[in-house]
Amino acid sequence: MTTSILFLVFQVVAVPTFSPLMIGIIRKMKARLQGRVGADIFQPYRDLRKLFSKDEVISSDASWITRFAPYVIFSITLLLGATVPLVTAIAPMIPGRPDLLLTATGDFLVIAYLFALMTFFLALAGMDAGSGFGGFGSSREMMVAALAEAGLIFSLLPASFLAGTGHILDMIGQLENLPMTSAFPLFVAFLAFLIALLAENARFPVDNPATHLELTMIHEAMLLEYSGKRLALMEWAGANKLMIFIALAVNIFFPWGVAFEFSSLQSLAVPVLIFSVKSLGLLMLIALIESLMAKFRIFRVPDLLFTSFVLGMIAVVLTVSLTV
């Protein structure tokens, strides 16, 4: 009983607790790669604390969307964070009610469309206050999101075919035991997923999370009208989203070292270590991409996202030919 409560709590708070750390680490890595010292890795927590203790200004032209969207978006990331496998592949359970497994949001299609719902509210909020920049951000975000969605779904399909299930938790259990021959289609699918990850999380070469130039922004442009607590929620939700994507990437495409049982917190030590190493590797890759290349012209972004889709298709075809 206590362990399952403990586990539930762990699963719910893990993503919001550690996601700012990931942002901090990625910024630190980028700084070092660019020859700067950089702020320490806990800076995003301080930023959040600062924003939460500030007053906010909401445009008088804004409707309920502006007020409401941060809660919706943050809640979606909480929900996904609670169900996506981090270091364990066990469905969290309401204590005492084993029939109520929190598994409904574990299906990869549901995950993809919960992200789409987030984007939808974000884009609405961007346009809501009526500023020119917000409109730009929203229109660009919708272009990117519409194209990235195909890549996202097709990059998860091969894993689903191989495992014979659409549910992330079951998928990981199946994938770990697959023969090495299936590694190749999974690797191709990982490339497709990586591009979708970069696009969905407003990273290079699609968007520049570090820019102050309103005219070039995508994600940040939609947040320009936000301030104070709601901005903190939006920023935090963005960090959560990145962590969820990273968890998906490392657990589905590199499904080793995930725990399938939970007895005590101590038993999670090794899985946590393995998860950290894998995530750090992925964060490093993102930091490298952001330090070594220029951002794409916006009209080359569709080419990139199309590449993601095509890679996903190839992975699907390879998988099907393997399994038949």
Binding site: Q34, F136, H212, M293, A294, R297, F299
Partner: protein
Amino acid sequence: MIDPKNLLQRFGLGITESKVEDNRILFEINASELSSVVRTLKKNHALPLKTVTGSDERAMGRNFRIYYVFGIPKENVFLIPFISVSAENPSFPSLTPEDQEFSMYEREILTFFGLMPIGHPAPERITLHSENFPKDIHPLRKEFRWNTPIVEPKEKEWPTFKKYEGEGVYEIPVGPVHAGIIEPGHFRFSVLGEEILRLEPRLGYVHKGTEKLFEALPSERQVALAERISGDSSFHHALAYCQAIESLASTEIPKRSLYLRMIMAELERLANHYNDLAFIMLDTGLAFGGSQGTRLRERVLQWHERLTGSRFLRGVLAPGGLLKDVPKHELDALRIDLIDLENDFIEVMEAVSESLSLLNRLQNTGRLERSIGEDHGIVGIGARAIGLERDARIDFPYAAYDSVHFSVPTEADGDVYARYKVREREIHQSFKIIHQSIDRAISSNGPVSIPIGNLAPNAHAVGLVEGWRGDIVYFVLTDASGLIMRVKVRDPSFLNWQVFPYLVTSDMVPDFPLINKSLNLSYTGNDL
């Protein structure tokens, strides 16, 4: 000594009366002859127009005057026709309908003197915008005191912008307050999706009354004012001012100070070119190039401080030379460090030259047609990037630029990449110049300044230098007792802002900041 008659005849001008002041020939023409004289000089003989400005000389028993300053390249001679405009009929013929380049100058005269250019297609003020300033003030008229309190008008008149209409076309207002630490300027975009159909910049938000202040400040504080017109060009602005004053005083300054001035001027160019390359790369998101470029700039700024005590080379120039000598061991140390600084730069540029993602952003972005640049009198980096070999260091050699070897790099394409390449290649030329100047400075002993004599009365001097953006022109006038009564500053940005809308048309909105950075124009230098 110049023979004015022969010279004017060479240009087909039958002017009988003219006044020669050192290398400047002034002659009065009638307003009715203006168009033909200007056409002869500018069109037929392709003389570059250096500045056009007014001056209120009513206190000297004259009228308003409008001077048209032309330079003769390679000969270092200036032809200055001028017209008189009376206060009773405060208007003069506009040359804009036949030549774009005059447009802003004429609007500037309208703004500050209240003289109307007749025939100008859009005679609007360039600063002192009517939402903040009353309409009837003309600050450069002598009766306007520099400390007159300005009363904001009750009835504000807001600007109107040209409208593009059609399905899917919309307007985005940007600025004058921006998200980063950038100077204020308003940009009105008409866009179709992401494509820019039209850009209308509205500047003039940083009007500081600079030219009026020159008339109010005592002469010993005027260098400091020149240094603060455009902070990144402190040295070059002060240099142009000092050269104008030295020419008014007919003072030959010591050789050693000339070489030291060249070293400092080229160091300022280096620092800014490094900075621009860094920010061009940073705006494409190439953070590596951004941090390396700013690191290189920092190395140069530290040299500035070591040589002069100021990171921006302020407080070192004065009419008559320099306020501070640089000892030999520092010059030797600089020479050694320069070699390292150049190799460091080469290494960084090699590392980024293989970045296809960078090339892809720079090439074909922000392209300027050569003819549009020529029509608007583009100067500096922008001009050299469309293949116009314009450089005051070659065309009107000052200091001792005629005694050192260097070349003027040009590129043909006129896009962001061409401006980026021009900067990269100019950096190598600057190193060449500094090395030669160090050699000469070390071998020429003696003082670095001499006291300047009294300024010639009723005189007109031109101070012309090639700042890192382009040429900076100072036109300085003295009154009957040899006191400075008018200083006209022409920053390169004043001309280059005019071509800016053409650069971004049919480019995409997200590329605008990059194109903006590729020219990196000064707002304060434009708004004065």
